[in-house]
Amino acid sequence: MIRSLRWKGAAFTVPFQLGFVFLYLLPIGYAVYQSLYHSQSSGLGLGGTTDEFSGLDNYRQGLTDPKFMGSVLRVVVFACVQIPVMLLVSLVLALFLDALTAQAASRFRIMLLVPYMIPGVVAAVVWINLYSPDVGPLTPLGDLLGFDWNFFSPSMVWPSIGNLLTWHGIGYNMVIIYSALQGVPRELFEAARLDGATEWRVALSIKIPFVRGALVLTGMLSIIQMLQIFNEPALFRNITPQTVDDSFTPIMIIYNQAFNAGNYHYAAALSVLLALILGVASFLFYRLTSKETD
């Protein structure tokens, strides 16, 4: 390519590059820098505060902070339950859609995608009201069936949030898996059927291996989202602050350290730690799932 043309092409990307530096690189650098300091109040706390270099102290504190590590563990355990359930349902629904005629499939697909159109905050508002013993229909339904359930109790709050996330995520994941399924050459299924394979067998031995890539991808996106979960617990905290405390998830801790406790340096260190955890988790997940295909 001609030299001048190269630079003209590069020029198209300049606005983005400048913005990226200002909105991504600079903040990350700033966060890392801030995380290496801590505020020292001078004298009796009357003379204001000064920032002092403290090296990796904030990180050491974060890694040994039972609240932070507890919240990470809580979210990880939750992810290990909710994500497989959600992906399994999405996979089954994608396989179901694949068994229908194109017209019927598109009708069901639209209905299943309705929750995805709803903003996360609104979805949480709606489900919180459905769960509410005052206005929601679920508590009377429980009474009718002989269950005395309280969706906001400590043992129920994760299942309640899990149901909300599953409801919100099934459609999106289903569409991705379904479109991967549509990419498989149909002849493969026909051939297997002519060989006498049952539908069940075709799904299990041909269709599912073929959509593995889509499953890995949706799994990875879900993990990234889950480690950063904030909106749903924040709204639940409005209703039940005793159960969902301000250190329920990692981002809630970070937010509170920064804005309520005013401990910005520590919040910066925790957000860097969370980024590292996210990177490691995605890497491990990718390695584990792609190894099996070898």
């Binding site: 206005v135 229909p137 493969l188 051939a191 937010y255």
Partner: protein
């Protein structure tokens, strides 16, 4: 498992013509299964659809009820028609602050996404159709940034914005919308699919400048791709919560989401009952999304799946 796969693979080539002929002749039957199996699939899908639609159905019903109806009537059916009163209440509560939030959401999502889409299309085009030094680095940054947690960006951004006096102004929402790595990624994919090198060569031979080529040829050919990028960015901004919560303080600059979050919290804390306000507001905030999604169904479905197949 392995045996089935291999037999089907070997069986595939000799039987290919036959099987595709069978498929052409009676497709529904060849796709289908036993009647029982088909029924099982339908029942499963009907149940899943009911699960998906039920909360929305309940929300619509709830928005038509007054307070007594909300608390005392059956949640599954109408009880009186008070939708207009509820709407009136939503739009007049605190001097119509809800309208302000709606306008803000439209401003941030509309203007922010428009600017972001234009920047993304230019960047995607530059990355896909020019070979300049550092191109790989830019693209790596785009993909790598998918993994950066929002907290890591938003908190320092808040500090930087407060240094330059942007916190609690619309700029604090608009500026971050301009730079969207996912949009850039999509724009690059779309460029690769729709803009042939030969066309650019021809335009250059005809003496068109690069800017002219971009604005009068590339952008025009990218209408569909651009619409998808815009739509997804719009939805993202409309749904955003952590960024507005962090950078917006006074409620006159809030988004719909922040307002609903606040009302939802107030209901529990103070004496006023805002439940029907929250529910009617929630229903209203879905309407623009629903209209956009339906109007642009063709575009956004390809966008969703393309984004997935990276």
């Amino acid at each position: 498992m392995a045996t089935t796969t291999t037999t089907s693979a070997t069986a595939e080539s000799p039987k290919r013509s036959q099987s595709s002929a069978a498929r052409r002749l009676n497709r529904p039957d060849s796709r289908g299964r036993s009647r029982g199996g088909q029924r099982f699939v339908l029942v499963g899908l009907v149940l899943a659809s009911a699960y998906s639609l039920f909360p929305v159905y309940w929300l619509i019903i709830a928005a038509t009820k007054d307070r007594t109806g909300l608390y005392q009537s059956n949640g599954l059916w109408f009880s009186g028609w008070h939708l207009w009163e509820n709407l009136h209440q939503v739009f007049t509560y605190e001097d119509g602050i809800f309208l302000r939030w709606t306008a803000n959401s439209f401003l941030y999502a509309g203007v922010g996404s428009l600017g972001g889409t234009l920047i993304a299309l230019a960047t995607g085009y530059g990355l896909a159709r020019f070979d300049f030094p550092g191109r790989g680095v830019v693209f790596a940054a785009v993909v790598g940034s998918f993994l950066i947690p929002i907290a890591l960006l938003t908190l320092p951004l808040y500090l930087l914005f407060s240094e330059i006096g942007l916190v609690d102004t619309p700029w604090a929402m608009l500026i971050p919308c301009l730079i969207n790595p996912f949009s850039v990624y999509l724009a690059k994919v779309y460029t690769e699919a729709t803009i042939p090198f030969e066309l650019l060569e021809a335009a250059r031979i005809d003496g068109a400048g690069e800017l002219r080529i971009f604005f009068s040829i590339v952008l025009r050919m990218m209408t569909t791709g651009g619409a998808t990028v815009f739509l997804l960015a719009f939805v993202n901004t409309w749904n955003a919560f952590f960024l507005p919560l962090t950078v917006l303080r006074g409620q006159e600059n809030w988004t719909l989401n922040l307002g609903l979050y606040n009302w939802s919290g107030k209901r529990a804390e103070s004496g006023i009952d805002l439940t029907s306000l929250v529910l009617t507001g929630a229903l209203l905030s879905i309407v623009p999304m629903a209209i956009m999604m339906v109007a642009m169904r063709r575009y956004w479905r390809t966008g969703v799946t393309m984004g997935a197949l990276k």
